[in-house]
């Protein structure tokens, strides 16, 4: 019976990823009229599955095996608290990163139960959280500069046509990363604890991400789509593709990083090309505060609960 707790938590987190992250991936495309919502959700589901099957292994290794040796109690506490925090943050509209919450929860409950935490692995993860938005910043900056020298020289209607195609490619890349990085972070601990085998959990995880996208993503997409189309799709592509490439790069290294933070890095990179004044420093300060707050909160809650339960 206790084994069902991590499964239920995983399902809730996967559902949350589907309802929120579809907008990260395909909100721009839907808002820009490149693809219809139904097709977008289906495409998102397919690429999430493809991402976890083809490239989820390394991130799962890092989170489920290298960081600490998970057992049922650690898994139950950390994933339940993560699910609770993810749901609460969605409800209260606080931008908490699923990755950070899961890593914070795992290390918190692990530390409290006396399990050895691989500090080198933890250091690498935290370092990648710090470096990844900067890498996305430079990727988006370089991409925008490159587009100015190549794409901008084409005729207006050709640019418009090409943008439609590359926006879709960029959305697919983010969807793929959602599977290869985000879903892998959720499933890694469950798989390496021996509770389930890989393929069924991949299929089940991708299914619940898809279900979240089908049932709850439309309202988020509407908001993001309408918000983003007010910006120009040219900059939107550079920011999104810069972020997508950055997440893919870190996925190759097996590092669980947040797509949202990378997109913020990407947007700042594009803003930098247009002038420092366009970068909203207040928003960046807010992101930094959240960046520290999310894993710390998850760590403290799991640590306290685990300590209380052990005594």
């Amino acid at each position: 019976m206790a084994e069902l707790i991590p499964f239920a938590a995983c399902i809730l987190i996967a559902f949350g990823i589907g309802s929120n992250d579809t907008s990260n991936a395909l909100g721009i495309c839907i808002g820009a009229g490149v693809i219809k919502l139904r097709k977008a959700v289906l495409l998102f589901g397919c690429f999430v599955l493809l991402g976890i099957v083809l490239q989820g292994q390394k991130v799962m290794n890092t989170v489920g095996k290298n960081l600490l040796e998970v057992n049922l109690s650690i898994l139950s506490i950390s994933l339940s608290i993560s699910a609770l925090l993810v749901i609460l943050s969605n409800w209260k509209k606080l931008p908490l990163s699923t990755h950070q919450v899961i890593i914070g929860s795992l290390t918190g409950s692990g530390a409290a139960s006396g399990v050895d935490i691989n500090l080198l692995s933890l250091f690498k993860i935290v370092l990648s959280w710090m470096v990844s938005p900067l890498v996305a910043f430079f990727f988006a900056f370089a991409l925008y500069k490159m587009m100015e020298k190549t794409l901008s020289r084409l005729s207006l209607f050709r640019i418009e046509r090409i943008l439609r195609i590359i926006l879709l490619i960029s959305g697919i890349l983010i969807a793929y990363n959602t599977g290869a990085n985000e879903l892998a972070t959720v499933l890694g601990p469950v798989i390496y604890s021996g509770l389930t085998s890989k393929m069924p959990s991949f299929l089940l995880g991708a299914f619940f991400v898809f279900l979240g996208a089908v049932l709850l993503s439309n309202r988020v997409i509407e908001t993001v789509g309408k918000g983003i189309t007010a910006l120009d799709p040219y900059s939107g592509f550079a920011a999104q593709f810069g972020a997508g490439s950055c997440v893919l790069l870190f996925t190759f290294f097996g590092m669980p990083i947040s797509t949202t933070y990378c997109i913020i890095g990407g947007i700042s990179g594009v803003g930098m090309v247009k002038g420092m004044k366009t970068v909203r420093l207040e928003l960046i300060k807010k992101v930094i505060v959240n960046w520290i707050f999310a894993p710390s909160l998850a760590f403290v809650i799991c640590f306290v609960i685990m300590r209380v339960l052990r005594h």
Binding site: A32, G33, E148, R153, S155, L156, E160, R161, L163, R164
Partner: protein
């Protein structure tokens, strides 16, 4: 297939072709207006309202095709606005043609010469607008064309103020005769202002995705 992917779908092509047709109608109406003015033929001026109606039909078709989903939503408002401005130029030209029909007396020769000059420059501006729009389909720089339109508009302004000065020295039969001539010149010179607005919008459209 590749052609469709990289060079635009059917709806986009339809919009582009219709915009070209719309501007060509403006050119034809301007040409027709100039000929009617040169030949002092009021019946010939009737082609302007006919062309304006044709322009209205094309404008409706363009807007409905855009609402069917042609182009990225980011571009749609600017394209629609451009089409509406071109249509406004046709409306103003039609107003000038109607005023010409109502003119009782013959235009003073000096004023008539100025009006023909203005009508001729209006036609050149329309042709330049068409060239500027076609530039959006190629790699060429649109700035030269928009600059030429601005120069033409400045020329018309100079002729307009010169004509108004001449008009002040001339006597008129009654209030309505004076109002007709004044309105005719106002509408005729307003066409260039609207075409300049359209070219500005083309420029905005061109830089909006870069």
């Amino acid at each position: 297939m590749l052609e469709k992917v990289f060079f635009g779908g059917k709806t986009e092509q339809r919009v582009i072709e219709n915009i070209k047709k719309h501007i060509k109608i403006l050119c034809s109406a301007s040409d027709c207006f100039r000929k009617a003015l040169e030949e002092r033929e009021k019946d010939l001026m009737l082609c302007v309202p006919d062309l304006e109606r044709e322009g209205d039909t094309i404008r409706r078709e363009i807007i409905s095709t855009i609402y069917e989903g042609a182009f990225l939503p980011f571009l749609r408002p600017n394209i629609c606005r451009f089409v509406e401005i071109v249509d406004e130029a046709l409306d103003v030209l039609e107003d000038a043609a109607r005023e010409f029909e109502y003119l009782d007396a013959k235009l003073d020769e000096e004023i008539e010469d100025d009006c023909i000059k203005i009508a001729d420059i209006n036609l050149k501006m329309c042709e330049m607008l068409l060239l500027a729009f076609e530039t959006l389909l190629s790699r060429e720089d649109i700035r030269e064309k928009t600059l030429a339109i601005r120069i033409y508009e400045k020329k018309i302004d100079e002729i307009k103020f010169d004509s108004l000065n001449k008009l002040r020295g001339k006597g008129v039969k009654d209030f309505w005769a004076g109002k007709m001539i004044s309105d005719f010149i106002s509408h005729l010179t307003e066409v260039s202002d609207v075409i300049e607005d359209a070219s500005d919008y083309l420029y905005i459209l061109n830089v909006s995705l870069r």
